[in-house]
């Protein structure tokens, strides 16, 4: 009977789902790493060279570290030094390996009503936006980008609050969509911005201040706390990330002729 065969087929399909392949590991990464498209370049090469199938969980830095602390992933690749060090101090990981950096840019309406583009420093640009009470979209999701933004507001000696400051509590893409819809200012990592397809009237209004550099680090989950983590594979992936090949691929990755990531892992 047809119905029966559908039922049996579904049951059979369900039963086979758990038969996982041998060389898989899970890594929690930030949205900026995945949305930049770099993951699509690196992961196939990782698979080719090491045979490891790296499964990515694309979340904010806060959630990535939480997944690592719970032992639900084998390693994390994030960008928020203070949070990473706290995470390590709590015994969640073995060590922190710096891999590369990219930078943040301030994106806003191209006519730049708050004159943020004329500022000398990143904090100056934020002060200009706050002074003009121009709409500003914040990630508001405890991600690395959000934490960086809050540090900058603090450095700028501004408490961002009021109708103009909109914390959306979502990922980079959703926040950019909001900013695009409201023609608002927003801080984004360069990669996500360049890859973003719904730019509307927005453009980069401020960039280049060294405080906007954004260091990515690779952190293996502590096998003493979570014996099931695949330390072998985690170490192999780390060795690959430290190889000349990774350096070459990362430095060569461009969007619209702009280099997005600068490899700076110590030898």
């Amino acid at each position: 009977m047809t119905f029966k065969s559908i039922v049996l087929g579904t049951v059979a399909a369900l039963l086979t789902t758990t038969a996982a392949m041998a060389e898989e590991m899970k890594m929690a990464v930030t949205t900026s790493f995945a949305n930049s498209g770099l993951a699509d370049v690196l992961l196939p090469k990782v698979k080719e060279d090491t045979g490891i199938d790296v499964q990515l969980l694309i979340v904010g830095t806060g959630q990535a570290l939480a997944l690592g602390a719970a032992g639900d992933v084998d390693a994390v690749l994030v960008h928020s030094r203070a949070a990473e060090e706290k995470w390590l101090a709590e015994g969640n990981g073995t060590h922190r390996t710096e891999i590369m950096y990219n930078d943040f840019v301030f994106v806003g309406p191209q006519e730049d009503p708050a004159k943020a583009g004329g500022a000398e420093t990143a904090t100056g640009a934020l002060q200009a936006i706050a002074g003009a009470e121009a709409p500003f979209v914040s990630r508001g999701d405890d991600s690395g980008t959000h934490k960086m933004e809050l540090r900058l507001w603090k450095a700028a000696d501004v408490t961002p609050e009021g109708d103009w400051y909109k914390a959306v509590g979502q990922g980079m893409g959703a926040a950019l969509n909001t900013a695009s819809g409201m023609n608002a200012y927003i801080m984004s990592d360069r990669a996500s911005w360049l890859k973003f397809a719904n730019k509307g009237d927005l453009g980069i209004v401020f960039e280049g201040d060294p405080v906007l550099f954004n260091q990515y680090a690779y952190l293996p989950v502590n096998p003493e706390k979570h014996p099931h983590v695949k330390t072998d594979l985690v170490n192999q992936l780390e060795a690959w990330l430290l190889s000349d090949k990774a350096e070459e691929l990362i430095n060569a990755y461009t969007i619209a002729d702009q280099q997005l990531f600068v490899y700076n892992a110590a030898e």
Binding site: N35, G71, D72
Partner: protein, 234 residues
Amino acid sequence: MNSIGEGLWQAARLVVTLDPDLVEITALSLRVSLGATLVASCIGLPLGAWLAVNRFPARRFVIAILNALMGLPPVVVGLIVYVLFSRSGPLGVLGLLFTPTAMVIAQVIIITPIIASVAHQAIRDLWADYHDLLISLQATRLQRIKTLLWDGRRALMTASLAGFGRAIGEVGAIMIVGGNIDHATRVLTTAIALETGKGEFDMALALGFVLIGLAILVNLGLHFISRTERGARW
């Protein structure tokens, strides 16, 4: 906005060329949601029938709870399943988090109350018609439930399809427990969320149209099967 037109065009292109990524995530969407519907039906349909034919003190209360659970927020279900199946959670040793199995479990929790509630309504009406007959035949409780389930199968299919409809379009829970991992747990709804996040509205809409088309196909397919079963009767 020409995005919708672009989306439709893109959807047509993906379907016609049988884009391998699309086929993969569509197959997983179907597998997870049909699997969840199947399991939830096995629980929900007999539960609905049992509630219809039995009289016990807390019956109204149980039915009220069941109806309330129809509105269970998927994000909360996702979070609870995540906490249970996390490596640090009570069921962590099973290693089910971020697998399709975990997604099925979350969806079963979400749609079982819907299926049970709709089934209960249908069976209750049928029970009113069959009550005297089944009592006079001295049918046992189990026999009564079996008879009602079989004779009410068309209405019960509607119950299951309501559950399926909720499952196939659900994103909050499976995003959390599945993790939207490429080639592992990515389904249509989580892919739509991802493409929206990238600002790729054309692609997101295209996947949306595929999802709607899929839901319609499954519904039509099941109605077709059930009609042939019952001959010319409608």
